[in-house]
């Protein structure tokens, strides 16, 4: 028996002890917080905020942590602020996610309401034979000459290609825009040098930018531009027949 136990026995012998039954001790500990709230309400000093602080205070004490009311209030404020921040961020992230889903659904509904006028437009160029054989003609650039001349050359070549290869395999982007998909793209330039002109034409594969055809014509006078442009178109039509790809 150690000193403490001996002392307790000594006190007991001299009837200084008033043992409290275990169930009463438990009852007191469990109901301490609620009793405090009842007393404070009856005394007129209760508020919800203070009730929350004291709940934390009594809970921490039960865990054997000797905190003060002020420390409990600070802990509660910090925990509340952190919770609000986490909930706020969560709500914001959820709202963003829902907005994205709604937007996707809107786009999907719009697409269903307005299907493309030409269903072929949505096809992958590599998967459509018509698209694979089509040439899109971009407006030729003008160097040291009028833009009207380069536009005229573009239209002559486009018209001749349409005649030789078929309308459905030719898109004059200058006139119609990109209304149809195409796998080949014709770009070129018209350059003036004194009285002569040089017309350059290049056809590339739009999927990999590979050069498929190249030609240039030197034209001695403006009157010969029409014939030279048709010659270029013929060369292209011969080099890249519709079913070549």
């Amino acid at each position: 028996m150690n000193r403490t136990e001996l002392f307790e026995k000594f006190l007991d012998n001299y009837r200084f002890t008033r043992p409290v039954p275990v169930e009463v001790r438990r009852h007191v500990l469990i109901h301490k917080n609620s009793q405090f709230a009842v007393i404070l309400k009856k005394a007129g000093g209760y508020s919800l905020a203070f009730g929350l602080v004291t709940s934390l205070f009594f809970s921490l004490k039960k865990l054997g942590l000797g905190v003060t009311i002020v420390k409990s209030a600070v802990i509660l404020a910090a925990v509340t602020a952190a919770s609000v921040a986490v909930i706020g961020l969560g709500a914001y992230a959820s709202a963003q996610y829902i907005i994205r889903i709604i937007d996707k659904e809107k786009i999907s509904v719009e697409a269903d309401k307005h299907p493309p006028s030409n269903i072929e437009e949505s096809f992958d160029p590599r998967e459509s034979a018509e698209v694979a054989g089509r040439i899109g003609i971009q407006v030729f650039s003008a160097e040291n000459t009028e833009k009207t001349l380069s536009a005229e050359v573009t239209d002559i070549i486009a018209g001749e290609l349409a005649r030789l290869r078929g309308e459905q395999y030719t898109v004059n982007v200058r006139k119609t825009g990109n209304i149809k998909r195409y796998r080949m793209m014709l770009i070129g330039s018209v350059e003036q040098k004194d009285d002569s002109f040089i017309v350059v034409a290049r056809v590339s594969d739009v999927t990999d930018s590979r050069l498929l055809f190249y030609t240039s014509e030197e034209i001695q006078s403006r009157e010969k531009i029409n014939a030279a442009s048709k010659t270029i178109a013929r060369k292209i039509a011969e080099a890249l027949p519709v079913n070549s790809r």
Binding site: R3, T4, L6, F7, E8, K9, F10, L11, N13, Y14, R15, F16, T17, R18, P19, V20, V24, R25, H27, V28, L29, H31, K32, Q35, F36, V38, I39, L40, K42, A43, G45, F50, T54, F57, F58, L60, K61, K62, L63, G64, L65, G66, V67, T68, I69, V70
Partner: protein
């Protein structure tokens, strides 16, 4: 208001169990003891600004609260001294003097390092709380309780020794 509530909450947290245990030991009914404790602490809350030592004030107020409790239930007059008569008054086996000395030592606040040590001692030595239970009541770990309680016991034993009770084993 916050500062009054803060002080009251801390006093309540430390003293409620001690007060409840004293009241319960006099009336032996949990629910009646709770009602009496509620009244006592409401009065303490109202007098919070003027009470210097809440423990002493509460222990004094318990006597009247218990007396009023019995007065309201008994037809015949109640003797408060009889009600709170300590066992030492009836203890006639030759050790009465020793008990008076022990009582003086236990009641002397100088034998405790702090107010909390008085409460701790009462819970463990008087009310038979375990270290863990006492720690939960006062917001201390079991280790802290053991250390502080051990220190208090040593101080009390030293004090008893100075008063002539040198070896408690001899008088057990």
């Amino acid at each position: 208001m916050f500062w009054k509530n803060r002080k009251f909450a801390e006093v309540f947290s430390d003293h409620y169990s001690i007060v409840f245990n004293v009241v319960y030991s006099k009336i032996n009914n949990i629910h009646e003891a709770e009602d009496i404790c509620q009244d006592l602490f409401i009065k303490l809350y109202e007098k919070m600004d003027t009470v210097e030592n809440p423990r002493k004030w509460l222990l004094g107020a318990i006597r009247f609260a218990v007396l009023n409790y019995y007065k309201s239930r008994r037809a015949e007059p109640v003797d408060i001294e009889e009600l709170f008569q300590d066992m030492n008054l009836a203890f006639v086996n030759g050790f009465r003097d020793a008990r008076i000395i022990i009582n003086d030592v236990l009641e002397n606040e100088c034998n405790y390092e702090s107010e909390k040590d008085i409460l701790l001692f009462n819970l463990i030595a008087v009310n038979n709380y375990s270290y863990e239970e006492a720690g939960r009541e006062l917001g201390m770990s079991k280790r802290q309780v053991r250390y502080r309680y051990g220190k208090t016991v040593n101080r009390l034993l030293d004090s008893l020794s100075k008063k002539g009770i040198k070896n408690i084993e001899d008088i057990l």
